[in-house]
Amino acid sequence: MRPVLAESVAAAENVRDYLAGQERKSLLRFLTCGSVDDGKSTLIGRLLADTRQIFEDQLAALENDSKKHGTTGDDVDFALLVDGLEAEREQGITIDVAYRFFSTPKRKFIVADTPGHEQYTRNMATGASTADLAIVLVDARQGVVAQTRRHSIIASLLGIRHVVVAVNKIDLVDFDRELFDKITADYLEFAKSLGFKSIVPIPMSARYGDNVTTRSERTAWFSGPTLVEHLEMVVVDDAAAEGPFRFPVQYVNRPNLDFRGYAGTVASGTVAKGDEVVVAKSGKAARVKRIVAQGGDLTAAVSGQAVTLLLDSEVEVSRGNMLVSPTERPQVADQFTANIVWFDENALKPGRSYLLRTETDQVSATVTELKYRVNVNNFAQEAAKSLEMNEVGVCNVATQAPIAFDAFAENRVTGAFILIDRITNATVGAGMILHGLRRAENIHWQALDVGKRERAIAKNQRPAVFWFTGLSGSGKSTIANLLEKKFHASGRHTYILDGDNVRHGLNRDLGFTDADRVENIRRVAEVAKLMADAGLIVIVSFISPFRAERRMARELMAKGEFVEVFVDTPFEECARRDPKGLYARALEGKLKNFTGVDSPYETPESPEIHLLTLGKTPEEMVDVLETWLHERDLAEEYQAGDGI
């Protein structure tokens, strides 16, 4: 194998010359996508084999594997070269993206082979996020199908501007030109609004190699390039190199008091020693004093380079902030509109708090509004209350603190983010920012002279939020009521937010779907926060079935202020008590989305107070609460009104 290389080395003067030539080659990153069984993995195997990237021991293993798992009869099954997981070889499908490397005399390539199954769309998106070109495979016998469209839309959303439509298995339709022309026309019609700069259709047989590296005589009617010719020639412009300077600060390097370096990768544009830069979030300006690298300072750095910058003045900069061009600045806002691709089995719920992460920044964020879901078949904008796995939608997002960003269309680095589930830490979604929202720019915090501390001192107490959670009928309201009476008797200023009562007023527009429950809790948590800010001891009595929202409420409050009280009464006992007759109706199926029946209750994992109510009176439960308060000396602190 690989005699090509031997010849090229011999042709070059020596190895160093040969390597220098290799270094000057440009790199193209692309992915293969499309529906299941359209031949993506086979195509990559064919590319690797025809560009002579496969070693003899690998080929021997492949021939072995083909006999065992192959789907191509007596021929070598090239797909087995890339389907590297046991489960993939056994099932004959691709589950996760594989990255392969090859080069031709003209260019180097990194190719991501991505899965076709809809359930693995997130893995296709992973491969697409770092690619500049997509090969969309279409089975000539099937034509353009839903998954062709879904993958094309996702590729477009993720910023890919160049597409090859590989009309594969052309051998199985007798190299039919009319069929090829029809598929091409179908695709062009569908893709005209996707913003691709180039769409190149090629009739192909990955299995037999037609028009992959060599021109096929069996498609003599085709005048376009072979796949490899096109991959070698296609011009992918580097928008980042031309854009305004962006430097997301990744790491502050402080080996000693005299050195404070801002380490990061230039996201776009260039920077030179002496340039003026601005800190994105504060607008403070400074000049670049040094560009530090091992082996000697640099005079300038370009996009893609990982460097350490020293500034001439002590401006406040930390990880998550950005150093930027003073004349062309990014947006800084806490509300924006974005395209979101959803990856997780648990649907995206507006109102739920997620962690939003950009390349170096991380903040709490909620989707405040799901504007619409995109139907991947016809681009229709559909109303939706949540985004299910693999769906794409346009959302308004609010972050707890402002972030610095550009529109994704202008900058693929500073315009992108991921969403992380706060409990499972799973990466649940990916976002591409469309634009900031004006309302965020125009509403500023009003500074107030009388603060929480002053208000609390006037009431001679420390504010707190006692958050009662538990099933309907568990005794939350009864115990909360008794606790408030005790507080009141000792002169404390309190307020109870009760689930049923709040639903008569503030939240009367909300129902009982998961999405509405999330919004219900978000509003109550915000109200509780305002009341604590007013200096009150707030008692919240809400079923609040989801961990994520209880955690969100906890994180809204000051440290130590939030006390989660789990009123733990078994389902059977609640159903037996059934003070409002709701269990009876729910169990008969007359009441939908009832917690514990057909809507889940997620038990608290580590509540501050765990009340086991079975066989106990409400008074005994309040005793437990009082003991807890005393043990923490909180009673005294409320007395003294300090510790704020």
């Binding site: 040969y18 390597l19 270094e23 997981l85 070889r89 990255y99 490397f101 996020s129 690298a293 990466t427």
Partner: protein
């Protein structure tokens, strides 16, 4: 007009970015230092990423007690020269049970001394992120792995449920006990590694260069008899042959190749015309189909 970044410049920048991301996001990272050429490149990149500071994490070598003697000498010399914090861990249970590649075979030996040893060390120090030098071009299950690769509290990899990895935005969140394996060299090929070693003049273990060495031909491989623990079979003889190694591991499990390449240029030109992959010299990969994936699921790097 500024020069465009070369291919190696881009690979270097990507790796440095990854190093810094881990240092900024994790409480207790560590770099696995296995002394081979990939580790040498990784070490070089770590020094660059934090210059002028030292890398803000220690380096861990899981010593199976069967590494080539020259590897151990090289390791200690590098730690002294660069002044990094070197931790060496040996699975003492394995030593006590006298686990070795000759009596127990490569599978058991590698599992006990390497995989279990690694898990012990990670648990002992409570590391939440561990850098490794694995590359996607090495092996097909590695081609499937993320740059930030999640491990559960049992250090296991679940290849069917990997976290999506979008752009260069890495999800570094883990719960207590869980960890992330981080592979800054994911997108490097074997050629890139050698090219970078040549360009940056990175020191590597002399075993990579051809020299006359005492080898025994066994099971189709040339094994360097590095010490007396390797007993000769009746038909075997030790011959001094001109050999070198493409990869380095435990000496009884690593085959030498006949070669006269005694310079970096020589190694690279030999590699360019090679007919077999580098892992072909590794006995541990050939034990069974999908053996790398299996080992990785158990916690191997």
């Amino acid at each position: 007009m500024l020069a465009r970044l070369t291919h190696l410049d881009r690979l270097e920048a990507e790796a440095i970015h990854i190093f810094r991301e881990v240092a900024a996001s994790f409480a207790k990272p560590v770099m696995l230092y296995s002394v081979g050429k990939d580790s040498s490149v990784l070490l070089h990149l770590a020094m660059k990423a934090f210059y002028p500071a030292k890398p803000p994490f220690p380096f861990l070598h899981v010593d199976t007690t069967w590494k080539f003697r020259e590897m151990i000498e090289f390791r200690d010399a590098m730690a002294k020269k660069l002044g990094f914090d070197l931790l060496v861990h040996v699975n003492e249970d394995g030593v006590r049970d006298n686990i070795n590649p000759f009596d127990h075979g490569s599978n058991v030996h590698t599992h006990v001394m390497k995989t279990v040893g690694l898990r012990q060390a990670l648990d002992k120090y409570g590391f939440d992120a561990a850098f490794g030098g694995a590359r996607r071009d090495e092996e097909k299950s590695r081609a499937k792995e993320r740059i930030f690769s999640f491990r559960n509290a049992q250090h296991a990899w679940d290849p069917k449920h990997q976290r999506p990895e979008m752009w260069k935005i890495y999800n570094t969140r883990v719960s207590p006990g869980e960890s992330i394996r981080v592979f800054p060299l994911s997108n490097w090929t074997e050629l890139d590694i050698w090219q970078y070693i040549l360009q940056e003049d990175i020191p590597i273990v002399p075993l990579y260069f051809a020299k006359r060495r005492p080898v025994v031909e066994r099971d189709g491989m040339l094994i360097l008899r590095d010490d007396e623990r390797m007993k000769l079979r009746p038909s075997e003889t030790v011959e001094n042959r001109l050999v070198r190694f493409r990869t380095l591991g435990c000496y009884p499990l690593t085959g030498a190749i006949e070669s006269d390449a005694d310079s970096l240029e020589g190694i690279v030109s030999e590699m360019l015309v090679a007919r077999t992959s580098e892992r072909q010299g590794r006995l541990i990969d050939r034990d069974e189909a999908g053996s790398m994936e299996k080992k990785k699921r158990e916690g191997y790097f």
